[in-house]
């Protein structure tokens, strides 16, 4: 009976996260449109797109691995999300947080891309391997400052458990990692730019260069799964950052806690939107070099700062 309850809770929290992620995507589209001087699509446009992609009459496949690509990607999104406690101390939104889940989450962030690489390579279009190569190289580039920041945070709180890290930040706003360990936050936020894939790091799906990168052959339901995962994955990433650096979301009333979560994730996302709306796109090698220069140095400084000061 307990397992059924757990499954029910997991489904509920996954649904909430996906809906919030997709709504966030719609809001971001709207904000981009306002920057462009347009009205922009309605906020619920991503849901309509998902219904439309799932309702295609024909969906062409290129082999078994082609099926596995979106499935792996979605599994990566699920895995990333399911081990992050959305709301501290909540039974529904606590998810399966356990000791060492930070490493698990970092692994799952990688996992989705690898599965996508397997599937999209099967499509046979020359642009998808190019996009995969760009995506994987950029991911390994921004993983460096990100992991350095994570290590710094782990040293700071002597734990690899997100719940513990969030608990340690409670109390006052000054307990947040943002203030106790600012260097790590800077390094991690810069790598969030690459993780979200907005400009100037939008080299994976650059429409003018390799339209549109890995999912160029994905159609119909494959694309629908990918878009659903995009919502879920965005929410998972933002919630992870909120937990690690911005004090998480904790409140006895669960609705208030959800509201806090939404506000915080929104503003974390706004950071990368702000950068993305005002910069063109890097050349791939420029992007890799960028990540391996200053953010890496800042991350190392963060470790030294935490370890020896």
């Amino acid at each position: 009976m307990d397992i059924i309850i757990r499954i029910l809770y997991a489904v509920i929290s996954i649904l909430v996260a996906t809906v919030w992620g997709l709504t966030l995507t719609g809001i971001v589209r709207k904000i981009y449109a306002r920057v462009h001087g347009r009205f922009g699509p309605p906020v619920w446009q991503p849901f309509l797109d998902i219904i439309q992609t799932h309702s295609r009459r024909v969906a062409i496949s290129h082999g078994y691995m082609f099926f596995l690509g979106p499935v792996f990607r979605f599994a990566g999104g699920l895995g990333t999300y399911l081990f992050i406690p959305v709301i501290l101390g909540s039974t529904v939104f606590g998810n399966f947080s356990m000791g060492g889940d930070v490493l698990l989450v970092m692994y799952f962030i990688f996992f989705g891309q690898l599965g996508m690489a397997l599937g999209a390579g099967e499509g046979g279009h020359p642009y998808s391997p190019m996009g995969i190569a760009r995506g994987l190289s950029q991911m390994s580039a921004f993983e460096v400052p990100f992991s350095l920041a994570i290590i710094s945070v782990a040293i700071q709180y002597h734990s690899l458990n997100i719940t513990t890290i969030v608990q340690a930040q409670q109390g006052s706003i000054l307990n947040w990692t943002l203030f106790t360990n600012p260097l790590a936050v800077i390094a991690a936020m810069i790598s969030l730019l690459g993780m979200n894939g907005h400009a100037p790091f939008s080299i994976v799906m650059a429409p003018q260069e390799i339209p549109i990168g890995p999912p160029i052959e994905m159609n119909g339901s494959f694309l629908g799964i990918l878009q659903t995962n995009r919502g879920l994955f965005a929410a998972a990433k933002l919630i992870l950052f909120m937990n690690l650096f911005f004090g998480g979301a904790a409140h006895p009333n669960i609705l208030v806690a959800l509201l806090i979560m939404m506000i915080k994730t929104f503003f974390i996302y706004m950071f990368s939107v702000f950068v993305g709306a005002s910069f063109p796109r890097f050349r791939p090698e420029q992007s890799f070099r960028f990540f391996l220069k200053w953010p890496t140095a800042i991350g190392i400084l963060a470790i030294l700062y935490i370890a020896y000061l």
Partner: protein
């Protein structure tokens, strides 16, 4: 605008030092060895200008061989004009170049007047000059949006194309047409300016300058734009004359070639304008030159607004144009479009139908020889930016 240049002139033969090996100035490329991929950029590709395609052989992200394919827009204008009377020609010539149709209209009208010896009244010349400059502004705005969009900066293209639309509204007031105007007919123009046109134009010039001020801050002073455009697609002065490069692309390499100043037509002789050149020759210099020419065009329009007389004849007396015989002869009339020299070569044999009309577009060499040469050994990410910085316009290549 003499920026201290880090540009290295590569000479005529593209630098193939890295890949592939050259054998008797031919690259050895075998697609069987897993080193090369053959891809097509276009025609169905967001990164190409218009409807053309570039056949690429790439190694990693680096282009080792490029070959341009055009002809997707070929309508056979020259053949169609051979079986249309002179007055029937001019509604279709403006379709030759879509973003900037007025240059074609001016050239074909001026060619007919040159062959038939018609003198165009003053006011018509002023109106023609005004129309040409306005079309230059519209085309430059479209190019600026394309250049920013090719680098993935969508906001700039949204702004500029939205602003170009207000210029199209002015065109609609002036000519009745939004994209295709059919304004200049042989012997003059079709109609005079409407009421209050000058004030609206001045007000729009102010708005355009305000937008360009923002764009200069966000685009031309952007570190990433400089990092991507500087040193990309360097054109040396020797290459300009050898490859027939014209217009801003030639001026960015230091060649003083502006038809409006060298061979003035219309009323350009009475307007004060100076040649805008740069000595760097890379894509960023071309962008700067075009940006300053956009300002120059706005300045010229305001000059025209001040100097143009109010009334006056706008059409010379023509014979009955339906059976209008033009004496035999041949002529070549050229005008400065945004891409450079745009000329019409018209041969008449004394009948009601032209014997031969040839439209010489600036993209003819830019998009084929020059692009194929400059595209070698650049990253595939830069091809769209390079294509836009050469300002290729496919419909004027194949007509």
């Amino acid at each position: 605008m003499n920026r201290d240049s880090e540009s290295k002139y590569k000479g005529f033969e593209a630098d193939r030092s890295k890949y592939p090996q050259m054998e008797k100035d031919k690259p050895v490329i075998d697609l069987e060895s897993q080193k090369f991929i053959k891809t097509w950029q276009g025609p169905q590709h967001p990164g190409v200008t218009g409807n053309m395609s570039v056949e690429l052989i790439i190694n990693g992200d680096e282009i080792v061989d490029a070959k341009t394919h055009v002809g997707y827009l070929h309508r056979g204008f020259e053949k169609l004009m051979e079986r249309r009377r002179y007055i029937q020609c001019f509604p279709i010539v403006c379709r030759i170049c879509v973003p900037e149709p007025d240059t074609n209209e001016y050239c074909v009208s001026a060619a007919m007047e040159d062959l038939a010896g018609i003198v165009v009244p003053e006011k018509a010349l002023w109106l023609r000059t005004l129309n040409l400059e306005m079309s230059r502004v519209g085309s430059f705005l479209m190019w600026l949006g394309g250049q920013a969009g090719s680098l993935g900066m969508g906001a700039i293209s949204q702004w500029t194309i939205g602003m170009r639309d207000f210029w199209l509204d002015l065109f609609e007031e002036m000519t009745g047409g939004r994209v295709y105007h059919m304004y200049m007919i042989p012997g003059g123009v079709r109609k005079d300016l409407p009421e209050g046109f000058r004030d609206r134009t001045r007000e729009l010039i102010v708005r355009t300058r305000a937008l360009l001020f923002d764009i200069e801050k966000t685009f031309f002073n952007n570190a990433i734009v400089k990092a991507r455009l500087k040193g990309l697609g360097v054109i040396s002065p020797e290459m300009v004359t050898e490859y027939g490069i014209v217009g801003p692309s030639a001026r960015a390499s230091g060649i003083e070639d502006d038809i409006r100043i060298n061979n003035p037509y219309g009323k350009y002789a009475e307007l004060d304008m100076k040649m805008i050149t740069s000595d760097v020759g890379d894509a960023y210099a071309r962008a700067e030159v075009r940006y300053q020419e956009l300002h120059q065009s706005l300045d010229l329009i305001s000059q025209i607004m001040d100097k143009m007389p109010e009334g006056g004849k706008i059409q010379a007396k023509l014979p009955n144009v339906l059976h209008w015989k033009i004496p035999a002869g041949q002529t070549y009339v050229k005008a400065e479009s945004t891409r450079g020299e745009h000329g019409f070569y018209m041969v008449s044999d004394g009948t009601k139908y032209p014997r031969r009309v040839f439209a010489r577009g600036a993209s003819y060499t830019h998009a084929i020889s020059v692009l194929e040469k400059l595209a070698v050994n650049i990253s595939i990410s830069d091809l769209a930016a390079l294509m836009v910085s050469l300002h290729t316009c496919p419909p004027e290549i194949e007509r």
